[in-house]
């Protein structure tokens, strides 16, 4: 009895509330619609409440005398006095405040993107240390120099033409002010749909692309491209002719990388699969597991196949020798530098910290940390359990593998998924290193193909599996409304889009890189002479030893002191 009375009272109370809200909304709507009709036309517009408030705020702003006393608490600095007025006589107006808010948003996003770009640029130092540390001392100068000069080769090629191919049709990014000068995408029409092929604006950053927003996106994308280029130098270290490395890097920065990057990030056909044929949100690669790492890793595989293994790597029966690097401290410090730079790589890929769902940068940064951590665990425990030692170089590679794998999904997945993705990556890098060395007989001194190629592809795939549909970067991705959602959260079509991306990486990027470098093999030749290789590349190729005061041991002694069980394979 009591319950039914209570129920009735609740219903009545709810009905009364709904009625009251309805009346309020109706009244407000009536007042708003009738106000202009009933109000007499004023002779002069009276100051609005907001204008009066602005005037009041201006009056309360700290005087110069107050500011001269210093502001240790920071309460007087950054007030209405700092908002520039279009008309100083009229003081600060509402449009002034609105313009300032807009400029603040863009300024925050510019600063964020630039600082993240600077962090990514610093990753070059990490790559140099990792690669040189994993090589023998007789090739240290050569390996460091490749990592140093790849920056220049890539930057020049990208400025000449690469940026235009990649981002020349990428107008429309609201985070960076619209990037309207980048409005030329060359397209083709197939089956009644328009597909982007490559961009056209921005060569030499001249003409109308001499623009503040374009400069920011150029810097950020350039350092990404350079990361892809530097991956190849690791796989081909200790036998790559410096001349061929330079030409190959220029061509990769000019054509190979920008083409795929356009398809994924520059408004090209992979990104359009969502709008054109309903495959999820199109190919999704948040920060570049595919665009940067798989492109670098697959190109590394192509060149490593062509260039062949180092002298002494494989025995006549096909078994391999572990050729130990000269400086494990450089390797591990390099890995830390790379992990630090990755905080620019992944969170920076929002291209902003203000508006459009960009506050997700916190979760992106945490996802990045977690995947690196579990990647290290995966590799370290695999080596410790199966080979008996917590191998340092493979632990470093495990960290990098986790970071590579989380790069594509970092903006779309939860921390738990990140940890799983990283753990799988850590084990995968060990298995892949063994497979590449034992089965393919490809010599990769630093494990670049496994770290970046295999785990880059895993990262792309994991978006199609783990994306949880909670991200909201302005309400859509690649022009499709909604959040990126993978198979485990209900959208199988996203997995299909990711598979098309992987097939493009394998079928186009690898083949294109392979044929390009096969051409260079004909014209230039990739490999140094056998004499140079045995002597070490430092003196013949660079004219200077990396460590002139070191005493070299006989090569055979080095191999003899590298026990078989130390080999990952």
């Amino acid at each position: 009895m009591e319950q039914s009375i209570m129920k009735m009272l609740r219903r009545r109370y709810l009905s009364a509330c709904i009625l009251a809200i309805g009346l309020m909304i109706g009244g407000l709507a009536y007042a708003q619609s009738s106000a202009p009709a009933s109000a007499p036309a004023p002779a002069a517009p009276p100051p609005s409440a907001s204008a009066a408030e602005l005037k009041d705020a201006a009056g309360k702003a700290p005087a110069t005398a107050d500011l001269q006393k210093g502001d240790p608490g920071g309460t007087l600095t950054g007030t209405i006095s700092d908002v520039p007025a279009a008309d100083p006589k009229a003081g600060v107006t509402l449009p002034d405040v609105a313009n300032m808010a807009g400029q603040n948003k863009i300024a925050i996003n510019f600063t964020w993107t630039l600082v993240c770009g600077f962090l990514v640029m610093f990753m070059q130092a990490g790559f140099a240390m990792v690669e040189a540390g994993l090589c023998r001392v007789k090739n240290a100068n050569h390996t460091y120099m490749m990592n140093f000069f790849v920056y220049g080769c890539g930057l020049l090629a990208y400025w000449l033409i690469g940026f235009a191919i990649q981002m020349g049709g990428a107008a429309g990014n609201g985070n960076l002010g619209g990037l309207q000068p980048l409005a030329l995408e060359h397209t083709t029409t197939l089956f009644g749909k328009t597909w982007g092929l490559f961009g056209g604006s921005g060569m030499f950053l001249s003409g109308h692309t001499y623009d503040v927003g374009v400069m920011v996106i150029f810097l950020f994308q350039m350092v990404f491209m350079d990361t892809a280029l530097t991956i190849v130098t690791g796989a081909c270290a200790e036998r790559w002719k410096f001349l061929t490395f330079a030409v190959s890097s220029v061509l990769m920065g000019a054509f190979t990388y920008p083409l795929f990057a356009n398809w994924a990030w520059g408004g090209g056909w992979l990104a359009q699969m969502g709008t054109n044929i309903g495959l999820g949100k199109g190919y999704c690669d948040f920060a570049g597991s595919g665009v940067v790492h798989a492109v670098g890793g697959l190109t590394a595989l192509a060149v490593a196949l062509i260039i062949g293994p180092r002298i002494g790597k494989f025995n006549r029966d096909g078994s391999s020798n572990a050729i130990i690097g000269h400086d494990i401290s450089a390797v591990l410090i390099g890995c830390f530098i790379l992990a630090f730079g990755w905080f620019g790589f992944n969170p920076g890929s929002t291209l902003g910290a203000s508006a459009n769902g960009n506050l997700r940068i916190g979760s992106i940064a945490v996802n990045t940390m977690l995947a690196g951590c579990t990647g290290t665990f995966g590799a370290l425990l695999y080596m410790w359990c199966l080979k008996g030692k917590p191998d340092a170089s493979m632990s470093g590679n495990g960290l990098l593998a986790g970071l590579v794998a989380i790069t594509a999904p970092s903006g779309f997945v939860s921390p738990v998924s990140s940890a799983i993705i990283g753990l799988i990556a850590g084990v995968l890098v060990c298995l892949s290193c063994a497979f590449i060395e034992n089965v393919l007989k490809v010599d990769d001194p630093v494990g670049a193909i496994s770290v970046h190629g295999a785990n880059g592809l895993w990262g792309v795939l994991s978006v199609g599996l783990f994306a949880d549909g909670t991200s909201n970067y302005g309400g859509s991705w690649n022009g499709v409304t909604g959040s990126v959602t993978g198979l485990f959260y209900g959208d199988a079509s996203q997995l299909a889009a990711q598979l098309v991306g992987i097939a493009t990486l394998l079928g186009f990027v690898f083949t294109f890189s392979f044929l390009l470098n096969l051409g260079l093999e004909f014209f230039v030749g990739h490999r140094v002479s056998a004499e140079t290789e045995v002597a070490g590349l430092d003196l013949p190729e660079m004219g200077q030893l990396g460590y002139p005061e070191f005493v070299f041991r006989e090569e055979s002694t080095v191999f003899a002191q590298a026990p078989r069980e130390f080999a990952v394979a």
């Binding site: 020049l156 000449l160 033409i161 235009a164 197939l190 060569m203 030499f204 001249s206 036998r239 002719k241 410096f242 001349l243 030409v247 220029v250 000019a254 044929i277 495959l279 595989l301 196949l305 062509i306 062949g308 293994p309 002298i311 790597k313 494989f314 006549r316 096909g318 089965v439 393919l440 007989k441 199988a492 079509s493 997995l495 299909a496 598979l499 098309v500 992987i502 097939a503 493009t504 394998l506 079928g507 186009f508 690898f510 083949t511 392979f514 044929l515 096969l518 004909f522 014209f523 230039v524 030749g525 490999r527 140094v528 002479s529 056998a530 140079t532 290789e533 013949p540 190729e541 660079m542």
Partner: protein
């Protein structure tokens, strides 16, 4: 022999040619742009010929040539997997079908990359001799 002044000069020629070619493409709508593009392309070709000329001077690498046809076959098969998907996307409309198609295409590409190409390069590998 290793790095030489000849290499340095031919690389400089290559960079100058590529810069000219790109500048020409950037301003291709103008007469001067077309001229610079053609001139740049010619300089790039000259640099490639210079590379070819100095290549034998650099000593013999620890490599053996051979199985060229098989290398091209490997590249063709790796591209075939991708082309298969591109063509199939417009034939197969269901999500499941597209996933299967994607997996088949990736499998074909991987066969070219992980089986045919390593076999081609290891056929006459110098470490076998």
């Amino acid at each position: 022999m290793a790095a030489t002044t000849g290499q340095g000069r031919s690389f400089t020629t290559f960079i100058v040619g590529l810069t000219g070619l790109c500048a020409g493409i950037a301003y291709f709508s103008t007469g001067v742009g077309k001229f610079i593009a053609v001139a740049g392309a010619l300089v790039v070709v000259m640099s490639l010929l210079a590379f070819l000329r100095i290549k034998p001077l650099e000593g013999k690498p620890a490599q053996k040539a051979g199985a060229g046809g098989m290398k091209l076959m490997g590249a063709f098969v790796s591209a075939l997997g991708w082309l298969l998907i591109l063509a199939g996307l417009h034939v197969v409309t269901g999500t499941s079908g597209r996933i299967v198609l994607g997996l088949v295409g990736i499998g074909v590409s991987l066969f070219g990359i992980l089986y045919i190409l390593p076999t081609a390069f290891n056929k006459n590998a110098i470490w076998k001799s």
